[in-house]
């Protein structure tokens, strides 16, 4: 499997403010739904996300799609390059690179200053980190260049040249006579890149430089997009909801439901024959009969509604779909139908899924890699076989043992004592220590790091620290 990233999430945080209980309450409290999550999702894979209710897995899916604004962190999308999409923020940053760097330095200073007295909610360090990533994805190591203005100018030129290449490539596709222009554009970009390489060599080859250099990857930072840019990009990133009853507007027919986003993204003209043909094609792909097109959602069973939801997401030809508990509300016999459909579509359409579910066996069946969440944190992530064969985090282990199975060896369930703590006021240190049977002193003090213990197997647990 090629390990090409499609989505990269770095230090993602989503805090929902809690309404203050009185005027006297000074401190603003937050529900820490996502508390610093870092994962990469690769092209063509299914990334499963499991956890109990309130662990923030659904929030993660939605924040990733920017349906809720992220509180902190960066979400980079690689399905399109900045050359193809031309988001406005690229020029803004590159044109004012020296100022941006100054701003970043100031933030870093502030973050350093605060570190001593660890207040409850301190976003300063996160701010610095976020801004660093915002810039570094465009500049790479050149953020440490001596002449930032020049670097910015050069990068901007490179960006324009890159855009030109994309344009010429599109023309070339239509008309092969344009080959010369295309090659010229490519050459120009290469020239500029050579100049950039010169600049890089001039820089001090420090660790920081090399680290920053890794990030120069032309991905689109979703958090930086303007509203309209984001809206148009939604074509690529879709979501299927848990509840097929509430996620379909009861006043629209199946045809209207599927055509709405198509018309909204100006892919088809409203009421055109092509649109109808396309809708029927999509419906057929999702196992919906042609004549359903004029029916209303309330006339369908749960399974069929979920197919409508899938058809609608699929119609836009997305690259990435978040399946948010997509089968949890369905009956057992329907669940397998939908799972099979999702698998089939993934292969046919070359899709990437983020599959969110509380049902471990479903997640295991469908996922290539699995992330386990607890109280807003990712506690373990690994290839799906590994996580079941060799769970490294005590919570994963407990979760696996708590699932009642239909297997013949009817083992007694292992009990994980205690309740899930409140996400408003999670325990200090490792959030799981209150229920963990292996808890040590350090667990109550320090938040464990996110470590790669085996290749592709990450865990956040003090027990596994070497």
């Amino acid at each position: 499997m090629e390990n090409e990233k499609l989505i990269s999430i770095h230090n993602l945080k989503k805090y929902f403010p809690v309404k203050k209980s009185s005027f006297l309450q000074k401190e603003q409290l937050y529900v820490k739904a996502n508390d610093g999550i870092t994962i990469d999702i690769n092209r063509g894979e299914t990334f499963g996300l499991v956890g109990e209710s309130g662990c923030g897995k659904s929030t993660l899916g939605r924040v990733l799609l920017q349906l809720y604004p992220q509180t902190q962190g960066n979400t980079i999308y690689y399905g399109k390059t900045i050359y193809e999409y031309k988001p406005a923020y690229v020029e803004r940053i590159l044109k004012n690179l020296p100022e941006q760097k100054k701003k970043l330095d100031a933030l870093v200073e502030k973050a350093k200053a605060v570190k001593e007295d660890e207040t409850h909610h301190n976003f300063k360090a996160d701010d610095a980190d976020r801004v660093f990533h915002e810039i570094v994805h465009l500049t790479g190591g050149l953020i440490y260049a001596k002449d930032l203005a020049k670097a910015g100018k050069l990068l901007l030129e490179e960006y324009h040249a890159g855009c030109k290449v994309v344009e010429e490539a599109a023309k070339l596709e239509k008309d092969s006579a344009n080959r010369a222009a295309y090659e010229a554009a490519v050459k120009k970009q290469e020239e500029i890149r050579a100049q950039l390489d010169e600049m890089r060599k001039e820089c001090e080859q420090s660790d920081a430089f090399l680290k920053a250099e890794q990030y120069w990857d032309h991905g689109i930072d979703l958090g930086m997009l303007k509203k309209e840019e984001l809206r148009l990009l939604r074509q690529d990133i879709q979501i299927i909801f848990q509840d097929p009853y509430s996620s379909l507007n009861p006043r629209l027919t199946v045809g209207q439901l599927i055509s709405e986003p198509l018309v909204g993204h100006k892919l088809f003209k409203k009421g055109s024959q092509e649109l109808e043909d396309y809708i029927i094609e999509i419906m057929d792909k999702c196992g919906l009969e042609k004549y359903f097109i004029h029916r209303y959602p309330h006339q369908f069973s749960g399974g069929q509604r979920q197919r409508i939801g899938i058809a609608r997401a699929l119609a836009l030809n997305p690259k990435f779909i978040v399946c948010d508990e997509a089968v949890s509300a369905l009956d057992v016999s329907i669940q397998s139908q939908i799972l099979n459909l999702l698998q089939e579509l993934k292969e046919k359409e070359n899709l990437t899924y983020l599959f969110i579910s509380h049902d471990l066996s479903v997640v295991k069946y469908i996922s290539d890699r699995i992330g386990v969440m607890y109280l807003g944190n990712m506690v373990e992530s690994a290839r799906s076989e590994d996580i079941f064969k060799n769970p490294l985090h005590p919570y994963t282990e407990a979760l696996l043992n708590a699932i009642p199975t239909t297997d013949a060896d009817n083992k007694e369930l292992q009990i994980l004592e205690g309740d899930i703590p409140s996400p408003v006021n999670p325990p200090k240190g490792c959030k799981f220590h209150t229920r963990c049977k292996y808890a040590m002193d350090i667990c109550r003090e320090k938040n464990p790091e996110w470590m790669e213990i085996e290749p592709q197997h990450f865990v956040a647990c003090h027990l596994r620290k070497k």
Partner: protein, 608 residues
């Protein structure tokens, strides 16, 4: 699907009321039918499958037809009042002479009061019909036979017997039905004629002396100049005066009707020979021996202008404000005020004789046929000003319903706008608007409206006052809807399908229009219906207290206003129960419709 007629549907739903719903095969068809139904059609179907909704709808349509179509057929002059017709009980048949079984040729005399008529036959018998006020239709036993002449006032009857005595009955507030002993004692001569009109009576003796009694002092009818006495041969009684025919065929007048006395000179100086005199409220007329008609008095209704008949007149008669003449050809002419249809004279009727009093007219043809015209009665009675309650109910309904509609439109427009802004914008704008809404709801409604209506209203005519009421009602009652809309938007905005639409990359604008508003609008519709009923009741309440629609413009509320008087409640039920019933039916049917609409829109109602 085949289209059914409305009646077929109605019939089917009627049948379904009695049929148990447990039937096997047919119900599957219902399912199939549902499979091709849009939510809107389901709502409509749900609505019509609700019996109460149908009752409400029928009630409301009835009220609408009654007020808007009815008022087209029964025009109303809000300024018209008729004191003699006040507080008349509901009833018809004022012209129902057929109930007396009297042949036309037997009729000696026919006279009408405000709401009834009496006929005197050649053999001296009496018969009466119409609305029985003050027991006026109950002819006393001593007037059973041997009657020579009758006189009818607005609500009393005098009968002159062959023996010369006067029997009277009916309304007795001035003892007008009863010849006072004092007059009887000093009477010079034998009574030959009796007269009566509004609350007084008069008797004329064979020596030409006239005596009046009853309510005569205020109209100065008790003052009869001495030089008239002894020379009077005939007279006619009107509300405020009497016109006298003297033995020299001239005319004189008595009473407070000043215009009466301006009779043309030729009538006074004996140039013409007057043979008959008649009097209306402010006007009088005379007929001379050559068939000419003279009219004088007040100028209203052109009563002083005699039309050009082009033929000789043989008989004249007068109603309250209308004059009639019969030509040689038998044609009946009438002019004056067309109150209570008194000028709807039958055409092509060859009259030999006519009898007109107040608002009833009768005619006998030469061939012995009989006909009648004028006031047939009041189905729902009259109010304390003598106005037809039915007509006023129709026109009042029009105003009450209209006030409600306009107030609801104003309040819905404001409520919807404010609610939408608050719901979609949120933040401080939301906060501000909701605080304003709270301030508005905490304003005590009635006191404010009453004060406003005093302050601004006094300088306004009643029409603009009506609009003022609508606007005040509208301006003060939007917060409820605004809150509802805001809350609904907040709920809808959080719905999964809205989030789903956003995730699809659908524009905010079209999310609002296609996904959020339809659900909000249906709530608004239900709320509008329900608040319409409230507005109507508010108008009624305001008018009831005397601050809404101002009389003489009717509204159900100000018609109910009368119920503030104990006498009205005790004696004149039709004046307050009927508007109350109208308000009740209208408010009830609108509420039924609103509730049924709410149920029909609620998706849960589909499940059972």
């Amino acid at each position: 699907m085949k289209k059914e007629s409305f009646f077929a549907k109605l019939g089917r739903s009627f049948k379904s009321l009695f049929r148990s719903s447990v039937t096997g095969k047919k119900e599957i068809n219902v399912l199939e039918e549902e499979a091709i139904q849009s939510p809107m059609r389901t709502i409509i179907k749900n609505f019509f499958s609700n019996t109460l909704a149908k009752v409400g709808l029928i009630g409301f349509i009835f009220i609408l037809l009654f007020s808007f179509v009815g008022s087209l057929f029964f025009p109303m002059d809000p300024l018209y009042t008729e004191p003699i017709l006040k507080n008349v009980q509901p009833g018809r048949g004022y012209l129902d002479y057929g109930s007396c079984d009297v042949k036309a040729e037997d009729i000696k005399q026919l006279a009408s009061g405000a709401t009834f008529s009496v006929v005197l036959t050649n053999d001296g018998k009496l018969c009466a019909w119409g609305q029985d006020q003050d027991d006026v239709l109950e002819i006393p036993s001593n007037a059973d036979s041997g009657i020579k002449e009758i006189a009818v006032g607005d609500r009393h009857i005098l009968a002159l017997t062959n023996s010369g005595s006067i029997v009277g009955w009916g309304r007795a507030n001035w003892q007008q039905q009863n010849l006072p002993v004092s007059i009887k004692g000093m009477m010079r001569g034998k009574v030959v004629h009796v007269y009566a009109n509004e609350e007084y009576s008069a008797a004329l003796t064979d020596q030409g002396y006239l005596y009046t009694w009853g309510s005569v002092t205020s109209t100065k009818l008790d003052i009869i100049p001495d030089d008239y006495q002894g020379h009077i041969v005939d007279a006619d009684a009107a509300a405020m005066g009497m016109i006298l025919l003297m033995d020299d065929n001239t005319v004189r007048a008595i009473g407070s009707g000043g215009d009466f006395k301006n009779y043309p000179e030729e009538l006074e100086n004996g140039e013409v020979k007057v043979v008959s005199v008649k009097a209306g409220k402010r006007n009088a007329m005379a007929l001379d021996d050559e068939g000419n008609v003279y009219a004088w008095g007040g100028t209203s209704f052109n009563l002083d202008t005699v039309p050009d008949f082009g033929e000789k007149i043989v008989q004249i008669d007068s109603g309250k404000n209308a004059f009639f003449a019969v030509g040689e050809s038998g044609k009946i002419y009438g002019w004056g005020e067309d109150a209570e249809s008194i000028l709807d004279i039958p055409e092509d009727f060859e009259a030999e004789q006519i009898f007109v009093d107040f608002f009833q007219g009768y005619a006998i043809s030469k061939s012995g046929e009989m006909t009648a015209w004028g006031n047939e009665g009041f189905i729902l009675g009259t109010d304390d000003q003598g106005r037809d309650v039915l007509t006023r109910l129709m026109h009042g309904g029009k105003i009450t319903l209209l006030v409600g509609v306009i107030a609801v439109l104003i309040s819905s427009a404001i409520g919807l706008t404010v609610g939408m802004i608050a719901g979609f914008k949120g933040g401080w704008i939301d906060n501000l608007l909701m605080r304003i809404a709270e301030i508005i709801v905490s304003i005590p409604f009635m006191p404010l409206v009453i004060t406003l209506s005093y302050m601004i209203g006094s300088s306004m005519d009643s029409q603009s006052k009506m609009y003022l009421i609508m606007i005040i009602l509208g301006l003060l009652s939007w917060p409820g809807l605004a809150r509802l809309v805001r809350a609904q938007i907040l709920i809808e905005r959080e719905k999964d399908f809205v989030l789903a639409a956003r995730a699809m990359g659908i524009k905010e604008g079209s999310i609002i229009i296609r996904h959020i508003m339809p659900n909000v609008i249906s709530m608004v519709l239900v709320d509008m219906t329900l608040s319409y009923a409230v507005m109507m009741l508010q108008e009624a309440a305001l008018s009831f207290l005397g601050f809404g629609v101002q009389p003489p413009n009717p509204s159900w509320g100000n018609m109910l206003n009368k119920a503030q008087q104990a006498t009205t409640i005790e004696n004149y039920w039709w004046q307050w129960i009927l508007p109350a019933v109208c308000v009740l039916i209208a408010a009830l049917s609108i509420n039924l419709i609103g509730n049924a609409l709410g149920d029909a829109i609620d998706p849960k109602s589909n499940e059972k």
